[in-house]
Amino acid sequence: MEKVIDFLSFQDPTVRLVVAGTVLLSISAAVVGCFAYLRKRALVGDALAHSLLPGVAMAFLFSGQKDPWLLLLGAMVSGWLALGAMELIQQHTKLASETAIALVLSVFFGFGVLMLTYLQHHGGGDQAGLDQFLFGNAASMRSSDLYAYGLVGMVLLVIIGAFYKELKLYCFDPDHAQAIGLPTRGLRYLLNTMTVLATAIGIQSVGVVLMAALLITPAATARFWSYRLRTMLFLAALGGAVAGLGGSFASYLAPAMPTGPWIVMVLSFLALVSIFLAPRVGIFARMWRQRQNQRKIIRENLLKAFYHGLENREGDQAWLSRPEWQEQRHLPEWEWQIGFRQLRRHRWILRRSGHYRLTERGLAEARRVVRLHRLWELYLSRYLALGKDHLHPGAESIEHLITPEVEKELLRELDYPEQDPHRSPIPYKS
């Protein structure tokens, strides 16, 4: 507990430094990842991250120390080699791009592992620190590392800000970008370089293996909340930041634990929450909407049945008994129950000793539903080449969907008809 408070108060300057560094790294990776995600190249990012390992090991082999700039250089070199290899394989062989990605990923990683183990067996100095690239370890970063990586992360964010418009256009519609004269080739190189760099600095905190999560998961999560790129980038950055914070926290509590898995757990948790809770596209929102739709259908079906009852009655009394009402339409009992409740709540029916009548507004509503049903039948018979006996099912459901604007258009198109194809009158306002 004490440690938690220690951490959260940010009193310790090393804690502050580590947190700031990890958060910044995660943010820049998450933001760059959005572009990879939108270009549907999320898994290329995964392959890239794995492919950086030989470069990192090589840099270490030549310098004998963990100099951040040298490691970045090594990562750049092997990242570009991997990208080039993927492109060559795709262009000159019949292998699918998928296969090319998996091939480059596994071979480069295998080579990296070979070099890493070689270093462990032969190298002097603090080669043990190289392991952290596999799963990341935020706490073990030194301040000089943090400054270097933090700087790169800042530069990436600034570049994205500067070329925001161009990048956006390119990601959403490369052909259009080319057509209006944007240097698409240059933009592609820029994005690739940024992905390599973001991956190179990101592996400090999550490691090579789980880097894909830092690129993909925040972007996918943000997408649930917004379709606007600006908002999406911001939200992805926020998700990355929260995960970075969580990761460094875990690392602070248990220094032996790798940071990467914890960051990924936080990211995945955020994604899971979004999948269920996001407005409009979230699973709960969809279930709620479906429930609302169903309620609307039930209540309007009851109104329609009542209207039919009124049409079929003898004389013109406004009250119908429940059996009279229910015989108009065969619906399961539970639907009647829900429907009654709904109609009462909307104040569309009145009840008197087992008999019901529609209120003014209820009647108008019933008329509207019946009108839409009959209009749609007419529309179907006129435009969809449907026989008379096939009209009814198509008009069910659509009658509940049509909005006043569409209704107006429908009326205009059908020229304010008087009768439906079955010669039933179409009820208008009066």
Binding site: H373, Y379, A385, L386, H390, H392, G394, S397, I402, V406
Partner: protein
């Protein structure tokens, strides 16, 4: 429905509605085709031709409505129905030879474990001979021209020895000789009383090729004998753009994720005719 009371139609599509992401691509399609017809499914791009075929073949679950082939559910008559997908739907680098692809026509759910028997081999050879690809039998499929690739698919369909053939744009990207050869084959099949239904996009040739036509524009514009379907008014309707109201309602349905059919009216299986108003 009244015209062909004497025989079961080869294909009967009943109030079929299909959606992608809740956006309707086929609205209440309802028509039937008599046995022994050579029918074209026509319509502009994006009018749902391929979707209709996929629904007929059970590769997509319709939102509502059902399909009858030879008066039965597809599951019951599957062996009588052959499907020829679009040529682009496969990777032509896949390591199989021409004869191996044609042999797939003799596979089936119960026949995956055993080797093909002599009669099967004979059927496969005959199918290749009929389509003129027997000399290519051992070639790899990537070494074929577009026309030859299409012939391979047709041969595979012939090897199924079905009653109904559903083809998705078999004339796209093929040479004139192949088109001619395929047409002759189709004519022979028709004479044997088999039914061929194909998605076709060339209106110019439709009049000559088919005796029945189905004109689509997400909805059914017209279906029936080709000369009555392909009149100016129908073509105007099919190619003169979408119906305003229909596409708006479609958008609404997608937006509000509204079901296009109430549960009680989906009748995917049993044709329980409920007459209403």
């Amino acid at each position: 429905m009244s015209a062909n009371k004497e025989a079961t139609p080869a294909l009967e599509v009943h109030n079929l509605t299909a959606t992608y992401d809740r956006q309707p691509v086929l609205w209440d399609i309802d028509f039937s085709l008599p046995e022994g017809s050579l029918a074209g499914i026509l319509g502009p791009n994006g009018s749902g031709k391929t979707t209709l075929l996929r629904n007929i073949m059970g590769l997509m679950q319709p939102d509502s409505g059902y399909v009858r082939l030879l008066g039965q559910d597809l599951a019951k008559v599957r062996a009588q129905v052959s499907y020829v997908p679009q040529r682009e739907s496969v990777d032509w680098n896949f390591p199989v030879s021409v004869s191996e692809v044609v042999a797939m026509g003799r596979y089936g759910p119960g026949k995956l474990l055993r080797r093909l028997r002599r009669p099967d081999r004979d059927i496969i050879e005959e199918a290749m001979e009929k389509t003129g690809i027997l000399p290519l039998a051992h070639r790899h499929i990537s070494q074929l021209s577009g026309g030859q690739q299409q012939r391979v698919f047709i041969a595979r369909a012939l090897a199924q020895q079905a009653q109904i053939y559903l083809m998705d744009e078999p004339f796209v990207g093929v040479d004139a000789a192949t088109e001619e050869a395929i047409l002759n084959l189709l004519g022979e099949m028709k004479d044997r009383g088999q039914t061929v239904i194909m998605v076709h996009h060339d209106l110019q040739t439709a009049q000559d090729y088919f005796d029945q036509a189905v004109l689509l524009q997400t909805r059914l514009v017209a279906a029936g004998p080709v000369e009555t379907v392909l009149n100016k008014e129908n073509l105007q309707q099919a190619y003169g753009g979408r119906l305003n109201v229909l596409s708006k309602v479609g958008q609404l349905a997608a937006e509000k994720q509204f079901p296009l059919r109430e549960k009680a009216f989906r009748e995917r299986k049993k044709p329980a005719h409920g007459e209403g108003d």
